[in-house]
Amino acid sequence: MSRLKSWGAPLLSLLILLGMIGVWHALTLPKTAAQTVDSEYAALVGAAAATGQKSAFPSPADFGRKIGEHLSDPFYDRGPNDKGIGIQLGYSIGRVLAGYLLAALVAVPLGFLIGMSPTVYRALDPFIQVLKPISPLAWMPLALFTLKDSAVSAIFVIFICSVWPMLINTAFGVASVRREWLNVARTLEVGSFRTAFRVILPAAAPTIMTGMRISISIAWLVIVAAEMLVGGTGIGYFVWNEWNNLSITNIMTAILAIGVVGMLLDLMMAKLTKLVTFPE
């Protein structure tokens, strides 16, 4: 019974995957009859592709072959418009990490201050409330204008989108540290620095990490859009470039890669969160 339970879910996942691939395969089988397609679309993808024997949308087999190709050589570099998907992902991850770490460097200490001092909280709250709902991409033109560098601008956009969840969660975590733990520190005449690092930080760490986990997910969502805008390198640019090349297979490979990397980033943060979480 218990063996069935532990194997049931993965087995079902596999069946669902196979089912989806099956439907996909059936839908992309070569058509014998001439197709009626939108004339504009036909002009765009080429008459042969639109009306020909083979569907323009790749079949699962095409997709599998493409993934195999990318996996066999992910890091090739043949000029600015032809880089391996691994290199492009590397650029994106690098930007996300840079912007994200900068955001953490600002958000955690500032959040600490806000959480400790109700005055600072009230002073900064209006700014946070106004700045927080702004779409990070709205900053892009301003960033490009002031920073005059597309790569730095992308990092700035990542910074601005990941700073809020970390800031708010840190402030909340610090402000809601149990009074009794602070009282223990006070009765032991522990100084403010030691209290901050030995009591408040570990007590607030799970909440702070939750904010950091939300931030990395948002940053990974935003980087694709940001790179589509600024161009040059990165997985977002890759997707855009392949759209211009009309390589649906490449786009789909990139989409899958984005999903997998996003999942890995989230898993990593979940592991770290578990490390600092304590059972009450």
Binding site: R178, E180, W181, N183, V184, R186, T187, L188, E189, V190, R194, R198, V199, P202, A203, A205, V276, F278, P279, E280
Partner: protein
């Protein structure tokens, strides 16, 4: 006459509510605790016991009056006064050893790791937690958590222990065992203790003096009951002593009736010198005992 370790002179506490109304929790309290003495404070919920303890520990301030510890006025928390919290207040991210080591290294920052560990181990052994050093609070039972709290408080070798209903969250069996251990430890170390409780038997078992507080607001100290039973008392033979029921009845009578209606019989009440009573003695014994006389004579 030894100088008392704690001297409380005319303290009162007012809280301002959200609507701006002031409530006086207690007013013009006077009492003192001598070195090596175990004093319990009994009163109904809400009369301000925790507030008094917080004032003694330095976590809270009075609205008026003075608190002296060892002749010096209290103006904040100090390592001289260790607190055992009702909710144990252990840090859940630290092990048993870590929790105690945090206190020890706060007390003696110059000590190296080995010295801190060795010192902690001594107190872990004292409260019978040997073998649980590496456990986190979440893995401990309520009684074990409170043992860690006691070890943490004792490990800094304070001049006095302050306890706020330390056993009230425990089941009766665990409570009894811990009470006896506190009795043993305090006898061994001659520790001065100020403890809040609402358990009459606990007070009779542990305390040398029991301070009775009337109901709030405007709570007062009605009287101070001297425990005339020998200090060698244990939980098992407590009820066999002739003084036990007299003291117990006196305390329960106070909690049930007199704590509410105290204002009525307060005609001769001098808040500066709350009467020292010995309900355990029968009238003949009381006349012969120096403790039976009012505190005025002592002062």
């Amino acid at each position: 006459m030894t100088e008392p370790l704690i001297r409380i002179e005319g303290i009162s506490k007012k809280f301002t509510g959200r609507d701006g109304t002031e409530t006086t929790v207690f007013e013009n309290l006077h009492f003192s605790v001598d070195p090596g003495e175990f004093v319990c404070l009994i009163g109904h919920s809400g009369c301000g016991k925790t507030t008094i303890l917080n004032v003694l520990s330095g976590l809270d301030q009075t609205s008026s009056g003075y608190v002296f510890v060892g002749g010096r006025e209290v103006n904040g928390p100090s390592l001289d006064r260790a607190v055992i919290f009702q909710s144990h207040a252990l840090m859940p991210w630290l092990t048993v050893m870590g929790n105690i080591a945090f206190a020890v290294s706060s007390r003696w920052p110059e000590w190296d790791k080995d010295k801190v560990r060795a010192h902690c181990q001594q107190y872990i052994d004292l409260v019978n937690l040997t073998g649980s050093e590496k456990k986190r609070p979440a893995e401990l039972s309520g009684g074990m958590k409170q043992r860690v709290g006691i070890a943490r408080a004792l490990s800094i070798q304070p001049k006095m222990l302050l306890m706020d209903e330390p056993f009230s969250a425990l089941d009766a069996l665990t409570r009894g065992v811990l009470q006896e251990e506190v009795l043993r430890i305090c006898a061994e170390t001659r520790q001065t203790v100020f403890m809040i409780t609402h358990d009459v038997d606990e007070a009779i078992l542990l305390a040398d003096k029991i301070v009775l507080m009337t109901n709030g607001p405007y709570a007062k100290i009605a009287e101070i009951v001297v425990n005339t039973m020998p200090r060698s008392r244990t939980r098992h033979d407590l009820h066999k002593h002739p003084h036990y029921y007299r003291i117990r009845n006196h305390l329960i009578d106070f909690l049930v009736d007199r704590s509410k209606a105290f204002a009525g019989d307060a005609v001769n009440h001098d808040p500066r010198h709350p009467p020292l009573v010995t309900p355990g003695l029968d009238p003949a014994e009381a006349a012969a005992s120096p403790a039976g006389k009012p505190l005025v004579a002592v002062k």
